[in-house]
């Protein structure tokens, strides 16, 4: 073995790219190994689709609202909401698991990389988003056999950028929460206090005009909920359309959540210190 050392590599763009690919690759491998996680990620939206939506089909009529130019079945209406739900669950799960003891070791491994910390955190988010997109497409394949399709095959492609952005927003939100809220130590707490309120107080299950009729107050909450805009962004993109308001809100929230999370994870701020090191 040689005694001579190579001079340490400069961490340029090529190294950052290798680093990003490695993080995404590992996250995907881990996901494929965790079959239960994959199955539960798939079963959850399918339960909503096959049971909830089928049951409510007759009760809830959806009138013609953009992007739909005809009456749509309730199953069709809630599909974008379920796609966003998959991402919401995934974002919370992967971001929160990062800081809990179970994952503390791998988080420390990640953070001793010479790549800048903001880059590592963003790469970790992107890896989580990649996994959530796999889940969404797996769901769409099954939904296809239930005759839930975009108006054109292109919809499967145009929804991809929307999924990337909404996935980033929800992952960044999870990361930010993990740094701010100490009490959310287990996933049940996150479900009760974050996922369910965000999901129900949004346009995922019912159009906002319907909510407005029932409770103007709830409609206001829905309008203030970033999840609503993620759902609408996906809904329009699935129909090859762009909803500028949703795009703006989701993009803005992603930037804000991500910046705040990176700030919170700065070594000098010490969030990792409190988590125990």
């Amino acid at each position: 073995m040689s005694l001579a050392f190579d001079p340490p590599r400069r961490f340029g763009l090529a190294q950052l790219w290798i680093c990003l690919c490695g993080i995404v690759w590992r996250e995907s491998l881990r996901f494929l190994h965790q079959r239960e996680r994959f199955i539960s990620a798939l079963v959850r939206p399918l339960v909503w689709l096959f049971i909830f939506a089928a049951g409510f089909r007759q009760t809830l009529g959806v009138s013609i609202i953009p992007p739909y130019d005809t009456y749509v079945l309730y199953e069709v209406y809630i599909t974008p909401g379920l796609m966003a739900m998959i991402q919401l669950f995934n974002g919370m799960q992967s971001s929160l698991s990062m800081v809990y003891d179970r994952e503390m070791g791998s988080m420390r491994m990640l953070l001793v990389s010479p790549a800048p910390r903001w880059f590592l955190l963003t790469a970790k988010l992107i890896a989580g988003v990649a996994v959530s997109i796999l889940q969404v497409y797996a769901y769409l394949i099954i939904a296809h056999f239930w005759e839930i399709d975009p108006p054109s095959w292109w919809g499967y492609l145009t929804v991809l950028p929307a999924l990337m952005l909404s996935g980033l927003m929800m992952g960044a939100l999870g990361m930010l929460m993990s740094s701010l809220i100490k009490q959310l130590e287990n996933f049940a707490g996150v479900m009760n206090f974050v996922i369910f309120p965000m999901f129900f107080a949004s346009s995922a299950l019912y159009p906002l005009w319907r909510v407005q009729e029932g409770s103007p107050w709830l409609a206001l909450v829905c309008k203030l909920n970033p999840f609503t805009y993620a759902v609408e962004l996906i809904r329009f993109a699935f129909y090859q359309q762009i909803d500028p308001l949703s795009l703006g809100v989701v993009f803005g929230c992603t930037v804000v959540f991500l910046s705040a999370a990176i700030y919170a994870y700065d070594p000098a701020r010490g969030i990792l210190m409190r988590r125990g090191g």
């Binding site: 073995m1 005694l3 050392f5 190579d6 340490p8 590599r9 961490f11 090529a14 190294q15 950052l16 290798i18 680093c19 690919c21 490695g22 993080i23 690759w25 590992r26 491998l29 881990r30 190994h33 965790q34 503390m104 070791g105 791998s106 420390r108 491994m109 990640l110 953070l111 001793v112 990389s113 010479p114 790549a115 800048p116 910390r117 070594p267 000098a268 010490g270 990792l272 210190m273 090191g277």
Partner: protein, 252 residues
Amino acid sequence: MRDAVNALTVEHVSHAYGARLALDDVSFTVAPGSFSVLLGLNGAGKSTLFSVVTHLYAPKSGVVRIFGHDVARESGPALSRLGVVFQSRTLDPDLSVEQNLAYHGALQGMTGRERRERQKILLERVGLADRVRDKARHLSGGQARRIEIARALLHRPKLILLDEPTAGLDIKARADVLAIVRDLARDEGVGVLWTTHLVDEIRDEDHVVVLHKGKKLADAPCGEIVASVGAAGIGAAFTKLTGAREQEEVDA
């Protein structure tokens, strides 16, 4: 660069968790290629120091440099010269040995080819070349540690830090891990900072830093420390040093 000569320089580092002072003005250095031991009981501040050196968080005051690069300000150049073995098991149990190493190589920006070449050499050196395809969960504690040592050296660091690497291992595995680190570090010219509370892991020629309740009590070659307190060995010297400190505290 004033400190370019030292593999690791810890300068007046203090850190507190709330009101509890975990590190109190600690300074020491690790020379390139040397084997240094950070000796202290549980709660001495070893883990805090470890977290600060690995840039997990910044100390309240003081500076840590790796080959002259300030860990807080130039973390990239500093961390690229550092290899780490954490106390907790950090191999991904669901992934194979090779996949674990590939992930680490990617985090260090190594190309696949570069990583495979290094991996081959290092796995042979730690005696586990035949386990490359096995899942990490099927390795014994000692084997997992040896893989972690190979992983820490993968990107050719010039300094490696090991946080109680023999914790939880049986006598044979402990001896193996210690021997492997000593041999590899010597052959590769790597500086080592070995954290432990076990005095039998120390040799006379090792440099020893004694840490007790956040304060540095000694910082010299093992033999000198033993001679300076007039003890029979490093174990007795450690007891004397920490005992004297306790007495001072009582008197004060």
